[in-house]
Amino acid sequence: MLILSIIALLLMFSVQLVLWLKGLPVLLLNGLRILYDIPPLPSSSQPIGGLGPSLIGSLISAGLAMLFASIVSILLAYVSVELQHKRISSVLKLTSTALYGIPTITVSMIVYSTICLHMGRQSILAGALALTIVAIPMEFTYFESIFSSIPLTYKEAGYSMGLSRGQVLKKIALGIGKAGVVSSLVAVFARIMGETAPMLFTIGNNFSSFAFNLFEPSSTVTTLIFAYAASPYKVQVDFAWGASLVLYIIYIVFSLASKLVKEVEL
């Protein structure tokens, strides 16, 4: 049994170790330009360039998705907890679970066939929409458990003063649960930045030019890695190591940050 554990640990560690070993040289070669420059041309001899356009695409699509998903999820999670004695609560939980079970590649297909085909092109908006569908169930689960763990008596105190459901949510529930809410938001943001499948058919393959218009195609760091991984050009594969390390660092930083929250003392 010990041998198996060691093999498993070794595999897990070595994967991340190799990432640093092969990715760091690329990062050091480029310095900060990896964040704002465009990727190297296939004909380049060195992987000098940047993730600029893809990083922008990742940030905008994930940011937009978080905006929509958070509003929807906070409201629905709160309603699900406050109206636990009514059927809507279990309907909401079921719907969230169903959404969560949709394979992300299918989400991509759906958004493509509805938005992209009608708009005539792939776009950041479509990518953001796909990420929203992925993010909502994640956030709903987090928020549901946060709101459930707020002692009833504080909410009742709020209602007994004449607060509406919306006011109790805003001033009491979110006030007491703010640490958990922030931590969940950061954690989900990190996860959707790392999603690839939802973006494959929706956001496009534009790695080399910056797109800030929501209706234009762009790319994400994840789709760049995916595309360059299978590239016949060595310089692109080398660059993908750098891109992977950047994505890894972003993900780790956000994940760890989400754990550093100070809870409200009950």
């Binding site: 008596t153 504080y154 105190a157 004449g162 607060l163 001033k171």
Partner: protein, 247 residues
Amino acid sequence: MMCVLKAEDFGLWINGVQILKNVDLCIPEHKITVFIGPSGSGKTSMLRSFNRLNELYNDIKIQGDILFKGVSIFDWDPQELRSKIGMVFQTPNPFPHMSIYENVAFPLKIRGIKDKEEVRERVRWALEEASLWEEVKNRLHEYPGILSGGQKQRLSIARAIVTRPEVLLLDEPTSSIDPANTMIIEKSLIGLKKETTIVLVTHSIPQAKRIGEYFALIYHGKLVTEGTYEEVFVKEKNPIIAMMSES
């Protein structure tokens, strides 16, 4: 005698179970009314019916009516109704994410009272009426976590009265509080009755006798008897009260 709250043939079902039956009750103005009765008799449910708190987390069914200032509470907008009725709960519950000052100022803030001087005056008044001012006046911006249980409950009382509600409901407010704080709180309540009408639920007969002026004995969801001290304790000699006094 004006009935600020009046239950008329009031029946209550919570999640299918009948909790209150045919209750006809008058809560007299500016007096301390005490609900007494054994555990589970429905006193708390009756209290929470007044400010329509029961319907928030339960499926309820109503029979009859309750009038607040002559108008059915079910015709009142629930939020407006609750803003005129203050409540203190069995477990002290000052908001943990607000300071002591913010807790008491909060009900004023949500009513849109912005003038800082006025808010400060009223917070001080409320804390004085709740007999807490002297102990916290230098720690107003600290959080309730530093307070003892008794102090937290007095803070909850201050928060409930700062808007000068017409009725103050208290659900066994001292059952988890030490005797010293209980005495302080009882004294505050007696002082408050000139400001508001007080309805208190308690399972302690001695407490009821100490501060009550009007009594309602509730047993198995029914109002068994109501009246003044003479009527309830002296004349009737109800066996239920005898049983409770012994426990």
